[in-house]
């Protein structure tokens, strides 16, 4: 890793990451799996594995980017998985057990069919 030695370099690095993320969001389906202590306890890693398997089975490796994040704050609905299709608002699904994890790939992504358990957004966020 090269060191960042000035504010300007840091800004540039930020702009690069933002550009990279923006182009990813345009081209790829982003699957974001919550993996905090409690999400993992609720089966988050199983959901992740099931998603990875289905993505591979459907040959979607290049169309999908899987991301691991922290707590999504919905303890009552863990495990939670967020899916953002290109150009669409991200959607968070709750209670993603193994079966639902598979359905998210086969139904929601591949066949474009709705899957139950969507958690409505009830916050605004200070995003930088």
């Amino acid at each position: 890793m090269t060191k960042i030695t000035s504010y300007d370099e840091l800004r540039q690095r930020c702009a690069d990451v933002k550009a990279q993320k923006a182009s990813l969001a345009k081209d790829k389906i982003i699957i974001n799996v919550s993996l905090a202590t409690c999400s993992i306890a609720a089966g988050g890693k199983k959901a992740l594995q099931a998603i990875e398997e289905e993505v591979a089975a459907a040959g979607l490796q290049d169309a999908v980017m899987i991301m691991k994040s922290g707590c999504m704050t919905y303890c009552y609905a863990e495990p939670t998985v967020e899916i953002a299709k290109p150009g669409a608002a991200p959607v968070v699904f709750g209670d993603v057990d193994e079966a639902k994890a598979r359905a998210l790939v086969t139904d929601y992504i591949v066949r474009n069919e709705p899957v139950e358990g969507v958690i409505p957004v009830n916050y605004v966020r200070v995003a930088f």
Binding site: T5, L10, C14, T37, C71, T73, R125, A127
Partner: protein
């Protein structure tokens, strides 16, 4: 409504909650949105730019911004953060320390863990900002060893920040050095108290000491030390980037910004919530939390954990901030919110918290060490049906003596759950001691089980499950319970499919 995900450009929209979006996420802004193990993800959300901004101006400017923002400590006490930093910045010393309190001992609270697991770089960055502000080149995170994932992600964040030159020597070419080490706690509630925490970091027993001197004057190794909570730190980069005015425009007159709560207990939507100060209790319980499950009636919510008190169904329009909660006999605490419904017995709840503090007292001073035990014993007596009105008086008297004489916050606040339930649920205490009844039907010693002959079909299921075989009856005829032998286990009540077993 403004776009929720404005992850573009340098401009942040000044989003505010509205009717459908009751929550405002500042401290938890990145949790669930970035990969906590990727420093590039953090840099992509303007990570470390608050530090870079701070480094461009004299330290006093950072102190001034934090002061003007009105940020108060999120670890429980609510002390103004900027003021604390100012005191430490003015104390001259060859070494100062920036400490992050990640002990999080309040039962049911996990806000700090979520932030450390979801956005560890924000804490690293904020500690460096604080170090620059007060003139400290060293920092320490005191974290309980029971948080292995948080520790792992924090460590990775620190390593990556160092590799990028955002931590360590000569940060961003400014000449400012700052490094952080991790100190592990063994999970004692009292070690969250700042003076006990500092002693524990020094390798001594985790016992509080008298203040003053305050840590900002003489703390870790007798040097000026800032102890701030994880959530307090998490707000700092946002304040620097968006400005003090922005932050102080959120919240109430004396409580600015947001508070993260861990909503737990008898509530549909358990989870972490971050709400602007001044939101009403009703909005939290009924709208964000979606009420109690099973359409049970909301009874009370304990804020401030074992140090706090209950807000009741009469308080639904109370605006949540530091001062209003204290006026109601509770406190903000670190953010635990345990919801209770009509099936909860408030005397038992008080006993539950006393059981916790009795275990967690460090034993240094008599009122707390022995007083907690005595308080617990009296509560146990009341819940087992042996209490008298005199015991309630004793509870009250002892509680106020402990409040006045204990050395640290643990002992001083330990009686709060009792005092607050006495205040709000006096009738329940009286019912326990005078009528020998537990109105919520929780205290087993005060219950009697009987069978309603009109409803009983004589199926015999209850007789099969009764562990002491005290239920008798002929097949297809009404059964009955021999109350003298019944141990009140409740099995028959649970098992009967015809609601024929009565609990009173």
């Amino acid at each position: 409504m403004q776009s929720i995900r404005t992850d573009q450009g340098d401009q942040t929209s000044r989003v505010m909650p509205d009717a459908t979006h009751k929550q405002l996420r500042i401290a938890t802004r990145n949790c669930g949105f970035i990969d906590p193990e990727s420093i590039d993800d953090y840099i992509g959300v303007r990570g470390y730019q608050a530090l870079a901004t701070a480094l461009q101006a004299p330290p006093a400017e950072t102190v001034a911004i934090v002061k003007e923002s009105g940020l108060r400590g999120r670890g429980g006490g609510g002390f103004p953060t900027g003021l604390k930093w100012e005191i430490a910045s003015k104390n001259k010393a060859d070494q100062k320390y920036m400490v992050c309190n990640a002990d999080e001992g309040d039962p049911g609270a996990f806000m700090d863990r979520a932030v450390l697991e979801g956005d560890p770089h924000s804490i690293v960055e904020a500690m460096a900002i604080g170090g620059y502000a007060i003139g400290a080149s060293k920092g320490a995170v005191y974290i309980r060893a029971e948080y292995p994932l948080a520790i792992k992600r924090l460590k990775k964040a620190m390593d990556d920040a160092k590799a990028y030159g955002l931590l360590g020597e000569n940060i961003l070419g400014s000449g400012f050095d700052f490094d952080i080490e991790i100190k592990y706690g063994a999970g004692a509630f009292v070690c969250g108290e700042e003076t006990a925490l500092i002693r524990s970091m020094e390798g001594q027993r985790g016992e509080p000491k008298t203040k003053p001197p305050f840590p900002a004057q003489s703390g870790y190794w007798a040097k000026p030390t800032i102890v701030n909570n994880v959530e307090t730190y998490a707000n700092i980069p946002a304040i620097i980037l968006n400005g003090a005015d922005w932050f102080s425009s959120i919240g109430t007159e004396k409580s600015k910004g947001t508070k993260v709560f861990a909503l737990a207990g008898k509530i549909r939507n358990t989870g972490l919530i971050e709400v602007p100060m001044g939101i009403t209790l009703g909005e939290v319980i009924n709208e964000i939390g979606a009420g109690c499950p099973g359409d049970k009636k909301f009874k009370a919510v304990q804020t401030g954990g074992p140090s706090g008190g209950a807000l009741t169904s009469k308080d639904l329009d109370v605006a949540i901030d530091y001062d209003n909660l204290i006026a109601k006999g509770s406190m903000m605490g670190s953010g635990g919110m345990v919801v209770m419904d009509e099936d909860d017995c408030m005397v038992s709840i008080a006993k539950f918290f006393l059981d916790f503090t009795m275990d967690e007292t460090c034993g240094k001073c008599t009122p707390c060490r022995i007083g907690s035990k005595r308080l617990y014993e009296i509560l146990a007596k009341i819940t087992s049906g042996d209490g008298s009105m005199e015991d309630i008086d004793k509870l009250k008297g002892l509680a106020s003596v402990i409040k006045d004489t204990a050395l640290c916050g643990l002992g001083q606040t330990m009686p709060n759950p009792i005092l607050s339930t006495l205040e709000n649920y006096w009738d329940e205490y009286v019912a326990h001691v005078q009528d020998k009844k537990c109105p919520a039907g929780v205290c087993s010693a005060l219950l009697t089980y009987s069978i309603d002959p009109k409803k009983c079909t004589g199926c015999g299921l209850c007789a099969i499950v009764c562990p002491v075989s005290c239920i008798a009856g002929a097949k297809k005829e009404a059964h009955s319970i021999d109350a003298s032998r019944c141990i009140k286990c409740g099995s028959c009540y649970e098992k009967c499919k015809f609601d024929a077993v009565l609990k009173s």
